[in-house]
């Protein structure tokens, strides 16, 4: 949760962070800036919801639309920003779950955009 809030901050406060990019460049702030830039560019691209629906079928083995409580969260109805960000965080190992790191690792930016669009409409 902490990480997520921090990263949303980065996503909206992109200019602020770009200044730290120019000056103080710790590993962490560098990767957060790259992440924010990628979130931005994914959200800007037009995504194909049919492609998203196709990809999302493979998520349904674990992510159920309803009545899921427990170790696998409901992702249906999440915002495009939240989904995109979460998937990029798994991909960049900013979130630790091994399953989701691997699944996100196999997704391209186009895939992520389509999935985010599809799930945000559920």
């Amino acid at each position: 949760m902490l990480l997520r809030n921090k990263c949303i901050g980065v996503a909206v406060g992109i200019t602020v962070c770009l200044s730290c990019f120019a000056g103080d460049t710790s590993e962490e702030s560098l990767s957060e800036v790259r992440l924010a830039t990628r979130i931005d560019s994914i959200l800007k691209e037009k995504s194909d919801i049919f492609y998203g629906e196709f990809l999302a079928a493979q998520c349904a083995s674990c992510h159920s639309k309803n009545e899921n409580t427990g170790a696998i969260p409901i992702i249906h109805g999440q915002s495009k920003l939240d989904l995109t960000q979460a998937l990029l965080e798994y991909q960049n190992e900013l979130r630790t779950n091994a399953i989701m790191q691997s699944i996100a690792g196999a997704l391209s930016d186009e895939d992520i955009g389509a999935l985010a669009l599809y799930f945000s409409k559920q």
Binding site: A57, S61, C62, A71, A98, I99, Q101, A106
Partner: protein, 424 residues
């Protein structure tokens, strides 16, 4: 919406125009027919996705021999006393009611590929435009000398869930402290690579929970190594020290045969005696694909890795344990994943629904002990005509107990989700 306007509608929103075979869906003709044989992890998913995504434009019939489906997945937890039998048994009601699938309970005996019909044991016949086969496995009883269908009533395999699982559970529950189990593990390829080793863990868990600390389990394995081996061995030492012994072929030298009445397993090296034998023989694809001549010399079916279509018949798709799926293991998760790709191509053929390059996924969780779960999994794509993994993960040895507990909880959540995804 009429068939005609549906096609135009499809065109208008930019769905792909060319079907692989001659278009079947022509004005004035009946709806195209999809028949699915096998209502398990692969077949029920395929029927459900086909019905759901065709929105009534195709007729879907599901042929399943049993009135209910008991999953092999989590059947080891039932053996260990962690789940009850009802919780792993599912009905077909929702598929019939909520998805308009014609569920036919009966045994499919033959496929007439030229006429595109299948014949059931009761003499009835169904015709199809596309046929999806997900019959799972058959046990090759005579692959172990002394074993047979009758012998399985004394020494259950319990590798097809249902009465066999209940029989093994009853026999396990009847054991007393000091009694021992001998398991013969299957040779590759077989359904659920970590399954035998999860089962042994659950047997030991049951003994431990009943204070039967003098009981032991011996695994006689035809394979020199097995899935998640390091994780299982570590777990056995931690939870069940001295209770489980794994014997590899370089020690036993080869399995000669079994005598289920004497309760013995003979190997080149020695004869092992068990109060209870659990014999898991070699497996092959279900009978229907053999009758239909869709198998190769391995006893399983070659498929096109982009679509799950049989390489021998463009009107037939083969899923799950029955097919040869490259890097994907034979699992319920794999079958469920493959079903979605097959269904997409069936609808591509029949109603020009848009298709995309295949993506598959699998994860196999295993429960080693209380709140101790491990997992292995991957994402897959079709690469040069083979299903190949593009990204993999596996639990690590020595993980902390929180991680293992979370992994176990994921598996509980997964079971609920996937059975909903399969049966609606």
């Amino acid at each position: 919406m009429s068939n005609f306007s549906r096609r135009q509608f499809a065109k208008a929103i930019g769905l792909s125009a060319a079907a692989i075979s001659a278009p079947i869906n022509v004005i004035g003709q009946a709806k195209p027919k999809v028949v699915v044989v096998g209502g398990g992890a692969g077949g029920a998913t395929a029927a459900r996705y086909t019905a759901l995504n065709s929105q009534g434009a195709v007729d879907v019939t599901l042929v399943e021999n049993s009135k209910t489906y008991t999953s092999c997945f989590f059947s080891n937890l039932y053996l260990g006393g962690v789940r009850d039998f009802n919780s792993i048994t599912h009905k077909f009601d929702s598929l019939a009611k909520n998805y308009n699938i014609n569920v036919v309970h009966g045994l499919a005996k033959t496929v007439n590929r030229a006429a595109r019909t299948i014949q059931l044991a009761d003499g009835s016949e169904l015709d199809y435009d596309r046929l999806i086969l997900s019959p799972g496995i058959d046990i090759v009883f005579d692959s172990i000398s002394g074993y047979s269908k009758e012998a399985a009533e004394i020494a259950p395999h319990a590798w097809q869930a249902g009465p066999q699982t209940q029989l093994l559970k009853a026999k396990l529950d009847a054991l007393k402290n000091g009694d021992n189990v001998v398991m013969v593990a299957p040779p590759n390829p077989y359904r659920c690579p970590p399954g035998p080793y999860e089962r042994v863990s659950m047997m030991a868990h049951l003994f431990k929970s009943k204070g039967m600390m003098d009981s032991t389990i011996t695994i006689i394995d035809p394979k020199p190594k097995f899935s998640k081996q390091g994780l299982f061995i570590e777990g056995w030492q931690k939870h069940y020290p001295g209770m489980i012994e794994w014997i590899s072929p370089d020690i036993h030298g080869g399995i000669v045969g079994v005598d289920v009445t004497a309760g013995t397993v003979e190997t080149d090296f020695d004869t092992f005696e068990g109060t209870l034998l659990n014999i898991i023989p070699k497996q092959q694809a279900g009978a229907i694909v053999h009758q239909a001549e869709l198998v190769n010399e391995s006893g399983y079916c070659e498929i096109d890795s982009d679509s799950m279509r049989s390489v021998l018949d463009e009107n037939i798709f083969i899923l799950g344990d029955a097919c040869i799926a490259g890097a994907m293991p034979k699992s319920g998760f794999s079958a469920n994943s493959q079903a979605k790709i097959a269904s997409m191509h069936v609808l591509g053929d029949l109603i020009n629904r848009k298709t995309f390059p295949a993506r598959y996924a699998n994860t196999c969780w295993s429960m080693i002990g209380t709140n101790d779960g491990v997992k292995v999994g991957a994402s897959y794509e079709s690469v040069d005509g083979e299903i190949a993994s593009t990204s993999t993960f596996i639990s690590q040895a020595g993980e902390d107990s929180d991680t293992r507990q979370t992994t176990f909880e994921e598996s509980l959540n997964w079971y609920d989700s996937i059975t909903k995804d399969i049966f609606g």
